[in-house]
């Protein structure tokens, strides 16, 4: 398989980047998208050129580290992470444009690597429950209804990759926050900090410079974990409840 790749190159956070074109031959359709980039980087290394920096870790689709904008779609044309995207989703002779996530809250560190520290800071503001450690309580002492447990678990599959922000025309992180709010809000353990959680997380979200949600739905379509739009409704409802409670 022969490909033409248009890739964003940027030396560091302060530099101005540009799109550069690379020709790559001998790509197997069984390669993952990141393995295809590995092949390109080996060739660049051999030529003494700076390899293309991109994030990856588990390469199993579960850690949320990788994430590229591929031909204008976050994580490319399939509903999966970039590492689980395979070259069989492309054709011989294809031209592929690869860009980093674009959001001012996710500044480019280098080439295709962005700093998603903003998500960590949103989590620091309430994406947790406070509990005493040391003596694990009996798990069955706090009953959780099955439907609530299921919804909570489904939303906990969010890996914080940032595809929702990347796909959103407003650069909003509402789907990410909604997933966390729903995941913790469905459980009894999440109740004591529920109001404060939504207010602080949204406060940090706004402070980071993410945009507001316009319920367009691009985020849910791009989400590799298929987090549905109704978590944003839950986020809004929790915020409205906190407002009513005077937070």
């Amino acid at each position: 398989m022969k490909l033409t790749l248009n890739i964003w190159r940027q030396a560091d956070a302060a530099a101005t980047g540009e799109m550069r074109t690379y020709a790559l031959d001998g790509v197997s359709e069984d390669m993952s998208f990141l393995e295809m980039l590995d092949v390109l980087n080996e060739q660049l290394n051999a030529k003494g050129e700076e390899p293309i920096a991109f994030d990856s870790d588990c390469r199993e689709g579960i850690c949320g580290t990788c994430g590229l904008m591929i031909n204008g779609q976050a994580h490319g044309p399939e509903v999966t992470t970039t590492c689980q995207l395979h070259m069989r989703s492309f054709k011989d002779g294809d031209e592929i444009t690869i860009e980093p996530w674009r959001a001012d809250a996710f500044p480019v560190v280098k080439d295709l690597v962005v700093d998603r520290g903003a998500f960590d800071r949103i989590i620091q503001q309430g994406g947790f429950i406070s509990a005493n450690t040391g003596s694990a309580p009996e798990a069955n002492s706090v009953p959780v209804p099955r439907d609530k447990a299921l919804r909570s678990f489904n939303m906990a599959t969010c890996i914080g990759c940032g595809a929702c922000v990347a796909a959103c025309p407003n650069g909003s992180a509402s789907l990410f926050m909604g997933a966390k709010i729903t995941h913790l809000g469905e459980l009894p353990q999440g109740q004591p900090e529920r109001d404060q959680r939504v207010v602080n997380m949204v406060g940090q979200h706004d402070h980071e410079g993410f945009g507001g949600c316009t319920n367009i739905g691009e985020c849910a379509a791009a989400c590799p974990k298929e987090i549905p739009l109704d978590v944003i409704s839950q986020l809004n409802k929790d915020l409205r409840t906190a407002l009513k409670h005077g937070h």
């Binding site: 207010v199 706004d206 319920n215 791009a222």
Partner: protein, 240 residues
């Protein structure tokens, strides 16, 4: 290996966040004021259909709007109560839309070279320009029939029914109104669902489907209902 600058500014954790100052509160204000408008356009559309009942019925309806609630309310009393409410809703709706649109434009200053839309509807992507279109139309519409009473055909302006027929007898006036109704229909299609979602009323897949259906129904009924009168004037069914 050359050193790499990883940050351009120091990140901070905010303290003392307030729900009332969040972007979601701005959205809730947009949703609530939008629902006020939905109620208004429904009633307004129903009133316009009086044109099919003829000259006297239409004018009597227009006059009755002014004497509604008399003698407890003064002449045009109810009308002014509604107008003040609508003006307040308009200020809230436009101001929060402006604030949110500005935020969105600064949230991604470096645009994508290639960006595809995967699932968003045309109506959802045209909310901002559609809103501006409706606002511009509103100015003309009020000059035409309420504040200015401008008769584009040059005839009399003291008779609501005749002013309406004179206006829509001009094909280009009908076109302007139909374009505005297209903008309104698109705005209602996304706006209805979006308002319900913003108010946190679409927590399940079934509720989401219902909200989207409500958007379709309101868009077709309201924009379609409004369009009937100018179309039937142009076709000569409604005439002086």
């Amino acid at each position: 290996m050359t050193p790499v600058a990883t940050h351009t500014s120091a990140p901070t954790l905010v303290k003392g966040s307030r729900a009332a100052r969040s972007t979601i509160t701005l959205k809730i204000l947009m949703a609530a004021s939008g629902i006020v408008f939905i109620g208004f356009v429904l009633v307004h559309m129903y009133g316009n259909l009086k044109a099919f009942a003829g000259h006297d019925a239409f004018n009597e309806y227009a006059h009755h709007l002014r004497t509604f609630g008399e003698p407890i309310l003064p002449y045009e009393g109810l009308l002014w109560i509604v107008r003040v409410g609508l003006i307040a809703a308009l200020v809230v709706h436009v101001a929060s839309a402006y604030a949110l649109a500005r935020r969105a434009s600064t949230a991604r200053t470096q645009k994508y070279a290639v960006k595809k839309n995967r699932s968003s509807s045309l109506s959802s992507r045209t909310m901002r320009w559609g809103g501006v279109t409706i606002l511009v139309f509103l100015v003309w519409h009020l000059l035409n029939f309420t504040i200015g009473k401008i008769n584009p055909s040059g005839g009399a302006t003291n008779d609501p029914y005749n002013l309406m027929v004179d206006t829509f007898d001009l094909w280009w006036m009908t076109i302007i109104y139909l374009v505005a109704m297209l903008a309104l229909g698109l705005h209602l299609h996304h706006g209805t669902w979006s308002a319900l979602q913003t108010l946190g009323l679409t927590g399940t897949a079934a509720a989401r489907t219902r909200a989207k259906t409500a958007g379709w129904v309101l868009a077709v009924v309201i924009a379609g209902g409004f369009s009937l009168v100018p179309l039937f004037v142009l076709l000569g069914v409604i005439s002086k």
